[in-house]
Symmetry: C2
Subunit: 220 residues, 2 copies
């Protein structure tokens, strides 16, 4: 994934995006609309408005493009989780903020990239870095749930896993319901606290914490 300022084969992007971002956006569209397996590198380069040679300059192959896309669905939440876990606010507020942020991330972007979590190709070792990041994120959920309920990792697992699953369920819902309303992430965060039997957090307090951590969501 070199990032030298090499000129584009077909001239500069009209989008204001970098070449790498053009490739990722084209891949998000094709992988979710026609499928990862059915997308050739030829078609991918074409959709991105590049020659295959230029594309190979940025990504060693289709697998690398998928890996980069998948990491974008999870890394910002890992960064957020690592910032929120040690904060002094009450645990319920921190759990609320993490769920709301994570759900917003999964609902962001023009294409439902999370749908690729279920493609069989993800069993390939090439995607270990994605699985490792997603596990880090899950472990942050479990840590916070354990802290809130006074449970060890093993005991916290079933509830943490239910809350984590609830957040990720927006991937399935987005496929069925289309664009979900902006009220969905806070409702998901409220619901997670209910599952855990924790007292509710006001949305203004939760949102303030998200903002204070200052994490930005990708916009397209």
């Amino acid at each position: 994934m070199a990032k030298l300022g090499r000129p584009r084969a077909k001239g500069p992007s009209e989008s204001g995006r970098s070449t790498e971002e053009d490739i990722l956006l084209a891949a998000a569209k094709l992988f979710t609309e026609i499928g990862y397996g059915s997308t050739s590198t030829h078609r991918l380069a074409d959709e991105a408005g590049l020659s295959q040679a230029t594309m190979y300059h940025y990504f060693a192959g289709k697998k690398d493009v998928l890996l980069a896309l998948l990491l974008e669905t999870v890394r910002p939440s890992v960064t957020f989780a690592q910032a929120v876990v040690p904060r002094p606010e009450p645990t319920a507020a921190r759990i609320w903020a993490l769920c709301a942020y994570d759900a917003r991330l999964l609902l962001s972007g023009r294409h439902n990239v999370g749908a690729l979590y279920l493609v069989p190709e993800l069993s390939d070792d090439h995607f270990t870095p994605f699985h490792a990041e997603r596990k880090k994120l899950y472990i942050a959920y479990r840590k916070l749930v354990g802290e809130a309920l006074g449970l060890g990792a093993r005991e916290a697992h079933p509830l943490a896993s239910a809350a984590f699953g609830l957040v990720e369920s927006v991937i399935l819902r987005r496929r069925t319901e289309g664009r979900l309303p902006q009220s969905t992430p806070p409702l998901i965060a409220d619901s997670a606290l209910r599952i855990l039997g924790l007292d509710p957090v006001t949305h203004s307090a939760g949102d303030a914490l998200v903002e204070e951590i200052g994490a930005e969501l990708p916009v397209d």
Copy 2:
């Protein structure tokens, strides 16, 4: 999907399953392990131990096989929902039973067929019957949630959709966590009631209702 007793090209199944079931099991394996797009009808017939001609006697094509598989993940829950909605038990108990049954169905079977909910090919009109059944199921959830909370369909939607998503999240979890414990469906059902702010239902009462409706889950 004719079901005449035509002899198998390669002799009787050793499994005790019908030829149609052999095809569906082979498809569930290949579609989830190598992908729907990457599975040829040739390979599918081969995996089922049949000639392509015999397979075409049962299914007009790969799409029909996928449709049949998808319907198996939702029809039993629709039947269950239609039986549970008009029952005299308290609404919370009926919601609990529906969530537990539906989660068990999605966790049943050797292969995680629900993973196919996200394949892009499902936008094809051919799969309208599946989307229609899944919508029927969702409408039953929404009806029960509306009844429990005294809300109309529109108002009940966000919470019903969160509960429905929570149940379907077992599809994503199964992919990550592997075989989920038998305690998962009741925990999902408990969690759904919590999301809705309803009083808990004892597992014995919930299980008794599931059993009374007498719906059987497919076993493999």
